[in-house]
């Protein structure tokens, strides 16, 4: 079964139809998606600014103790609401370049955040290596947000 065919099946599903046909559901999910995006931005940036020497003087490992909760909560809400939005219009998404750019940058952002950035911050690393990872992490999430908004235009 081709990916396009799968997209058609998801589009025809009861959940997909419900979200698509409701007046309020899509906007409500979309708004929640945006609120979680702000939370993700805040938790990543408060650590990043500190690492890059542009922010708080508190050791980053201490900031992480608070920030990672908001980061995890934001990522979970973003993934759930994102999947729900996707289920409502998968055929449209299949054909949009911005969607695929977003999915690839999202995979990179998640991998870099959870397998490189977080472990380094947690054990109190510092130096140019961590600063490069930080810039990469910020850039990846910015690209995810930008490509995400672009899906609506392309």
């Amino acid at each position: 079964m081709s990916l396009y065919h799968t997209a058609q099946n998801i589009e025809a599903s009861a959940l997909g139809q419900t979200i698509r046909e409701s007046t309020w559901l899509f906007p409500a999910i979309e708004s929640t998606h945006l609120l979680a995006l702000a939370m993700l931005g805040g938790s990543i940036l408060i650590m990043s600014f500190s690492i890059l020497g542009w922010g708080l003087k508190t050791p980053v490992a201490d900031l992480y103790k608070s920030a990672h909760r908001y980061l995890n909560a934001a990522v979970i809400v973003l993934l759930i609401t994102g999947v729900l939005l996707g289920i409502s219009e998968p055929v449209k998404l299949y054909g949009r370049q911005a969607f695929w750019v977003k999915m690839i940058s999202l995979a990179i952002a998640l991998l870099v955040t959870y397998f490189v950035f977080n472990p380094l911050v947690r054990r109190g690393a510092s130096g140019p290596g961590l600063r490069s990872v930080t810039v990469l992490t910020m850039a990846a999430w910015l690209l995810v947000a930008m490509a995400g908004r672009w899906i609506g235009f392309s």
Binding site: A38, G41, L45, G55, L63, M146, G148, R149, F153
Partner: protein, 183 residues
């Protein structure tokens, strides 16, 4: 008077150019969304500190002096891109109930910031690292709620449920400044 101003704005070449441009509108809208991460993201982290639930090892004074400049930078980006988005579609946005509610929430958030700056944080040296006072928590909750509403109402501007051509109740006509035309 505002109505006339908005109508004039819509006729300017700037407005038409933005409205008809293939990429400029999308770039502006995407930058607006990315700036939300910077602005609401950082102000939310400051509010969580003022609430006393997170970042308790960071002195309140440092949170304000090191993070708020970023918040202000984010706000500047949002005002610039937001004005451009308004300029692109002035008349419809002016009448949008969501835009009006969003502006109301921004005013509430601004008053809250003024109260915080001129009254609440005056004695912050006394609670820089200790338990935060109730007044600080109240400001934080108002700020978090108001900015969340700003995001949601802002997103809803895109929907045409209450555009002028679908206004049928006198109350909504009053609130949106739309002419009441049941046809």
């Amino acid at each position: 008077m505002l109505e006339g101003l908005v109508t004039k704005l819509a006729d300017t070449p700037w407005s038409i150019a933005l409205h008809e441009s293939l990429y400029m509108y999308a770039i502006t809208e995407s930058t607006h969304v990315m700036s939300i991460m910077l602005f609401v993201g950082t102000i939310a982290m400051v509010d969580l500190r003022l609430l006393g639930v997170s970042y308790t090892k960071v002195p309140v004074s440092q949170m304000l002096s090191k993070i708020l400049p970023w918040t202000i930078a984010g706000f500047a980006l949002l005002v610039i891109t937001g004005s451009m988005l308004f300029l692109a579609i002035p008349i419809r946005t002016y009448h949008s109930i969501w835009f009006r509610l969003k502006c109301l929430m921004i005013v509430i958030a601004a008053i809250n910031i003024a109260v915080f700056t001129f009254r609440v944080e005056r004695d912050k040296a006394a609670w820089d690292l200790g338990p935060v006072p109730r007044k600080s928590k109240i400001c934080a909750v108002i700020s978090l709620s108001a900015w969340a509403c700003v995001i949601v109402f802002g997103r809803l501007i895109a929907y045409n449920w209450f555009d002028c051509d679908s206004i049928t109740s006198p109350t909504m006509a009053e609130l949106t400044g739309c002419p009441l035309d049941p046809g």
